[in-house]
């Protein structure tokens, strides 16, 4: 017993020493809270070297998780919430105004991100990644003409019964229904919501769709079904692994989203935080991130480079989501709507 304890203590001490090494002088610190797998980590090291600082980089899995941690008093300098969450954080005064004069690279922003609904003049936030939701389809089974003709309604076309993946996530599950019926994704009308609910119930009865989340990627790469609702980022990956797959954004409109860098209210190092945002907008940095993650960059020159001939995502239209289309919408922060949709979605899931 004693031997075991001694061994444990020895292990602890070794670990302790390696953990402390390199802590010889106090450096400036920056606390970043970002999505998991959302950065090329070499960029963190690069930033630390350039500004002689230490970056504490932590990851989260959902906006709500991040929000709870912030409300719970965790002190981060930079956070990267999604559109609707930026809206809420501005409302609740949990993030602060940016000093745009320090973010000289803001002109690099992609065309589609110049004025997002949640923060049109970038007072509080600078986009980090972006994307849309669309239909991934097997070009050997479905034609583009069919998709253009039917849009979201192809998901209720009996011809493809049993050939469909629906995306099972907050609000995204209602997107095809709302858009197929010509409604806004931010609708507050109970009638419209009920109609969308009926659409989903009918779909479940007639189409026998599979409700999935991220397993859709591998399943579509293997070509298991003909159609899938998917994020453009996932579609980019699917298309680069299986050239028979295509990505289509229906003319009835869809959801476009972006995640954006913000500086928290209790940021400890404003100077360094602005430097971080500016750093992420540099073309080389943004390119490395986009290549690593596979999502559409926030920097226009990177999008152009990677999607042009010879670029990593050449010929993959999912990498360049549609911009400036009137029927494409961002999700707005609306807790009542969100709760309502979640309840109805449960009923869809349990419907016979």
């Amino acid at each position: 017993m004693r031997k075991i304890l001694v061994a444990l203590l020895a292990v602890l001490m070794v670990l302790g020493f390696t953990g402390c090494s390199g802590n010889n002088e106090p450096k400036q610190e920056l606390y970043v809270f970002n999505w998991g797998e959302y950065i090329d980590e070499n960029n963190i090291t690069l930033f630390e070297k350039r500004y002689n600082c230490k970056v504490y980089y932590k990851t989260f899995d959902s906006n709500e998780e991040m929000y709870t941690a912030i409300v719970g008093g965790d002190k981060y300098d930079i956070i990267v919430p999604s559109d609707y969450m930026v809206e809420r954080l501005i409302k609740e005064e949990m993030i602060q105004k940016l000093d745009l004069s320090q973010i000289t690279n803001i002109g690099n922003l992609a065309a589609g991100l110049k004025s997002p609904d949640y923060d049109p003049s970038h007072e509080y936030s600078v986009p980090y990644f972006q994307g849309s939701i669309g239909i991934v389809y097997d070009t050997t089974k479905v034609t583009l003409e069919e998709l253009e003709e039917q849009g979201w309604n192809i998901l209720v076309n009996p011809k493809y019964a049993g050939e469909i993946y629906m995306y099972n996530a907050d609000r995204d599950n209602f997107l095809p229904a709302l858009k197929a019926l010509g409604y806004s994704v931010n609708t507050t009308s109970d009638e419209e919501i009920q109609a969308a609910y009926q659409w989903l119930i009918n779909q479940k009865k007639t189409m026998n769709p599979a409700y999935v989340t991220d397993e859709v990627n591998d399943n579509m790469i293997d070509g298991l079904k003909a159609l899938a609702v998917a994020y453009s980022g996932a579609a980019t990956y699917i298309m680069s692994e299986n050239e028979n797959m295509g990505y289509y954004e229906p003319k009835q409109g869809t959801n476009i989203w972006s995640d954006a860098m913000c500086i928290t209210k209790n940021c400890q190092n404003l100077d360094l935080a602005h430097k971080w945002i500016n750093f992420c907008l540099e073309p080389e940095v943004a390119e490395a991130n986009s290549l690593w993650v596979g999502y559409t960059s926030d920097v226009q020159s990177v999008i152009d480079k990677l999607s042009s001939e010879g670029g990593e995502f050449y010929g993959i239209n999912a990498y360049t989501p549609r911009i400036g289309y009137a029927l494409d919408e961002e999700y707005h922060d609306d807790l009542t709507l969100k709760t309502k949709l979640a309840e109805l979605w449960n009923q869809v899931m349990f419907a016979e």
Partner: protein
């Protein structure tokens, strides 16, 4: 004939259960060696995900904190849990029942409730979250498992042995370390192992008590699963290998020692 059939059936049942347990793990391990990014199509052998894993500073830090927190939490919670259990076995029935019931609550409670509870507690006390807070949280949710593992064995102990030790001139501390604890050794070790694994793979409580500086393997893995990445498989493989090795050592070393002892006696 009948007997042989029955044997065959019971044998295949065991294999079925084993397959159910181990196939997913095997699957994860297999795809950590995949050449491509896919998690369903094996295209060839490669070690690139292991290389990527060791290159990633986040993973290195996560492994470091996971191990150090698990080790400290195990040692501390095992000591506290063992002493509590021994104390309880000597206390009155009412007190014991009450404490044991309270001890059950953290285990029955959903993790998320415990996690938010810890978070609010630390926030309201204005404690900055970091290594200390996550460690405290881990120690506290490990203790009930240690107590639960030791209590049944304690009930079977012969009280007279400890008393005999005291009669024969042992100090109370000697009676504890030389008589009671050796008898409990098996259940203490199994309690410690449970505590270690609970701490090692905890996500929810860690996420809400760790603050901005600390991240463990569970937090890293959980926040990375949205994007396809076989480095997670590589990481899982290494964890499985470590855990298996530890279990083998824990089980095999006493056997070898026993055999050697018997050899000396002969």
């Amino acid at each position: 004939m009948m007997r042989r059939l029955r044997k065959l059936l019971s044998g295949s049942y065991v294999w079925l259960v084993m397959a159910f347990f181990y196939l997913p793990i095997f699957y994860v391990m297999l795809f950590s060696f995949n050449k491509s990014k896919s998690l369903t199509n094996f295209t060839g052998f490669s070690l690139q995900w292991y290389q990527k894993m060791f290159e990633s500073r986040s993973i290195r830090e996560a492994i470091y904190y996971t191990v150090i927190i698990a080790v400290i939490a195990t040692v501390v919670s095992t000591i506290i849990g063992t002493l509590t259990a021994i104390g309880l076995s000597k206390s009155g029935k009412i007190l014991r029942t009450i404490v044991l019931q309270i001890n059950d609550i953290p285990m029955m409670n959903p993790d998320i409730v415990t996690a938010i509870g810890f978070m609010l507690l630390f926030t309201s006390l204005n404690v900055e979250k970091g290594f200390g807070t996550i460690l405290l949280a881990h120690i506290s949710f490990c203790i009930p498992y240690v107590i639960l593992s030791i209590m049944p064995r304690l009930r079977q102990l012969d009280d007279n042995l400890a008393e005999a030790a005291l009669d024969l001139g042992a100090t109370p501390f000697q009676a504890l370390t030389k008589v009671i604890i050796p008898q409990l050794k098996g259940s203490i070790i199994s309690g410690a192992l449970i505590a270690f694994t609970m701490s090692f793979d905890d996500f929810v409580i860690s996420f809400f008590t760790s603050g901005p500086k600390i991240s463990n393997i569970a937090i890293y893995v959980y926040s990375s699963i949205k994007r396809i990445n076989p480095t997670i498989n590589a990481l899982s493989t290494i964890i499985v290998v470590i855990v298996t090795t530890v279990l083998i050592i824990v089980n095999v070393v006493p056997m070898i020692r026993e055999r050697r002892k018997r050899g000396i006696q002969k």
